[in-house]
Subunit: 268 residues, 2 copies
């Protein structure tokens, strides 16, 4: 199975993809949009994207693309995020002046940079991309900050392991397919919906779930692109494709202005 | 009045600060945390921070800090975001190879980079910081992407104006004070609250507002730091400090696990 990921080989997306599809052949993409394009054009069988991090919050560009494109969430996976300082073989930690990584990862290793004032946090487009860069260029004063999978892929050495400030750092990934296919044991549904801009509209929408004792595990609003100060809601609820969930979605379609089922899948 | 901002002089935060407090003396801070520290320690009278962009979504680090720290929102302001390509005097657009800016700003100028493949989008910690850098270093192959205020502050030349993809690009800023002071005409309230992790808990919380026909202009969930997969809700409603709003907040305090009033201020 060929799977597109957002990020380089060795990234957390790569690791999450292999955890969900162990035999996957990986197609790395620099841009999120490319990942969805490849899936749309049938160049890959699936795509793996990060959707939410317990510290940094939602990956908003992916929420927007889930709403825009015709894709279906088939699986979710929670990956524990461990950041490591990785450099070319032979490089010494004492000689480091720069550490390249994605801005979110740099922000999650603040304490490390306080402890190592000689090393400058340097934003890079990707975590594993930073490791690839310092090793390809054989830099002796620079390292990358990434998951240990990046050290494996690029033959780097881990100079410091687990340098993230907060160990309660998890990223939720989705495996996307082009067409809906609901796996056995699917007990969680992700939807997006919009309500009229009137008092109580969201309350009326939530009644659909509360009235049926359906548990919302997440609800989040996102600005609607091109409609300043209007919002789309992304919600997850803990039911699969059963009669009760179907009735809830039918009723929601009546009270909301728009409803889209993004996926039905087994809860991680 | 002395006001701390997150970002450099010439940044959008600087512009927003002057629009809310025309006579402000500005203290620029690299880190969001510093802004709150200065306010807390009484080094400044106020602080101006971006909280939400209509395209990029919430500035999550600021939502977290509003919850953590003892501050009070006194004003909000909506700034129209216009991105400009700014370089040192004498630099020609045809010679440019790099454009420095904040990753969010670069992402909002994608079309410009498609039209100008010779110019590489290069992440920098701040929009105005990129302009400061190219002018201080007198780079002849690099520009910054920032608001026109940055050209003014650093004596740069605007080589291309309004290069953002989407003109419906606004950022909402808050003016924060250490102590609560509610301005005349205050008709909007921002709160944070958490509900029990049981079905219908959010619905019960929203009943407090819907039952009183109080309009929620925004509701957004954020992961709770240190509690993976639990959420805090940030909500705005269109009432000031009147009897109805007070009754709603009292009732919310009964049904929610935590309620914090972040500010009461005139709607922009």
């Amino acid at each position: 199975m060929k799977v597109a990921i957002q990020g380089e080989l060795g990234s957390f997306s790569h690791e999450a993809a292999l955890r969900m599809v162990p035999s996957a052949r990986i197609l790395p993409c620099a841009q999120s949009r490319e990942v969805f394009d490849h899936l749309d054009e049938g160049n890959v069988h699936g795509a793996v994207i990060p959707i939410e991090n317990t510290l940094a919050g939602s990956v908003t560009v992916h929420a927007d693309l889930l709403l825009e494109r015709t894709v279906f969430i088939q699986r979710e996976f929670h990956l524990r995020i461990v950041h490591n300082l990785i450099a070319a073989p032979g490089v010494k930690k004492a000689n480091l002046r720069r550490a390249f990584s994605h801005p979110v990862a740099l922000d999650q290793c603040r304490e490390f940079f306080v402890q190592h004032p000689a090393i400058q946090a340097t934003p890079f487009y990707d975590t594993a991309g930073g490791v690839k860069h310092v090793i390809a260029q054989n830099l002796n004063d620079s390292a990358g900050i990434a998951g240990r999978h990046a050290a494996l892929v690029y033959h780097g050495r881990i100079l410091a392991a687990g340098i993230e400030d907060d160990k309660r750092n998890f990223t939720r990934f989705f495996l996307l397919r082009k067409r809906p296919r609901i796996l056995p044991g699917a007990n969680k549904t992700s939807i997006a919906f919009a309500v009229k801009n009137v008092p109580g509209a969201l309350y009326d929408a939530l009644r659909v779930f509360a009235g049926r004792r359906i548990s919302l595990s997440k609800i989040e609003s996102r600005p609607m692109r091109g409609h300043p100060w209007q919002y789309v809601f992304f919600a997850d609820f803990l039911r699969g494709q059963d009669k009760l969930a179907r009735a809830a979605l039918l009723e929601l379609a009546n009270v909301a202005e728009m409803v889209k089922v993004l996926g039905i899948y087994p809860a991680a």
